[in-house]
Symmetry: C2
Subunit: 196 residues, 2 copies
């Protein structure tokens, strides 16, 4: 029947699959990798998610889905300046990434294919974009935000944290410098860039 939220095996699969998909991608992760990392039987993925792709999509929804209501919340409030709302959104994205460290890898892999991203991403962005665009346009009316395509600004606001986060790891590999303890510094950097 409908699998319970408290179902142990199901949770174990989701928990194990997340970092594997993030690091090795969809095609680079086998069901056997997932089930053996989760310590469950090979057939468990088929039992709970029918196919590997449905498992992946469920995970994607779990990872990017919660971002939409968070951003929408940041855009609310008639007495709050547009720029402040935007800054809150940037911080919300960073917060979300900190709580879901695999999110950048998932997102970026989805965008790397030239084809339409998977439904969970389309859906989430379909909610975020209009809310943010309205705020940006309002800010531009008030001359508090520089003129320019709102969509490009939104793109920057979302992409900036994602790429800073991914780049942080790459840079530490290249230069040996570790930004692990510099989360706040990176956030401030991104906020400064976006504000400007």
């Amino acid at each position: 029947m409908v699998p319970d939220e408290t179902d142990d095996t199901r949770r174990k699969i989701l928990y194990a699959a997340r970092p594997l998909f993030a690091e090795y991608g969809f095609n680079g992760t086998s069901i056997r990798d997932i089930t053996s990392a989760a310590g469950v039987n090979l057939g468990a993925v088929g039992y709970y998610f029918a196919t590997k792709e449905l498992l992946y999509l469920h995970l994607l929804q779990e990872i990017v889905g919660p971002l939409a209501p968070r951003i929408e919340w940041c855009m609310r409030g008639d007495d709050i300046a547009p720029l402040v709302k935007i800054e809150r959104a940037v911080r919300a994205v960073f917060d979300h990434i900190r709580a879901n460290p695999d999110m950048p890898a998932f997102m970026v892999r989805e965008m790397a294919t030239g084809r339409p991203p998977a439904q969970p991403i389309l859906q989430t962005f379909g909610r975020i974009a209009p809310a943010m665009a309205a705020v940006i346009i309002e800010g531009q009316k008030r001359n508090e935000i520089r003129a320019g395509d709102p969509l490009l600004y939104i793109l920057s606001i979302i992409a900036q944290p994602v790429h800073l986060f991914l780049g942080r790891v790459a840079i530490s590999h290249i230069t040996g410098i570790d930004f692990d303890d510099a989360h706040d510094r990176i956030v401030d950097h991104a906020v400064a860039v976006v504000r400007a």
Copy 2:
């Protein structure tokens, strides 16, 4: 550089493999996909590149390698203001992406894995980073560039074009708006963001 009938088998393989790796990733692209797209025999990859991974690395070098001397060139010139050098670098990255539309996908897939990027990327960034850092530090000394970690700025400068380019495609899928003819607008947006 479009391969015609007289082109070398080796070239045909590289030409066919490039967009396949970009769209489907390393694991999502089979040697059979590549050779049949290239119209060559299955064994040709083994003959010219020994393994699929060496073919991939050769391609990666071909795609990101030329960026290093270009950026280094942009950083040269004692009588040129640091900010101008940086702006030239941003435009150079966009130019390079326009000439190599698959570059963002390759780069981003490399960074998505939490592990060290492949050698061609490490090598290229190892050349770019010191040159740009010196210019940024010089600009900060002159109070022409805001204080902050030079590495983070470099990261932004490289990542910004890559992500704007990838995001452009995603946005057109989500909103239906096509930025195809808006290359200059996007470049100016990125330059403005970086300058600020």
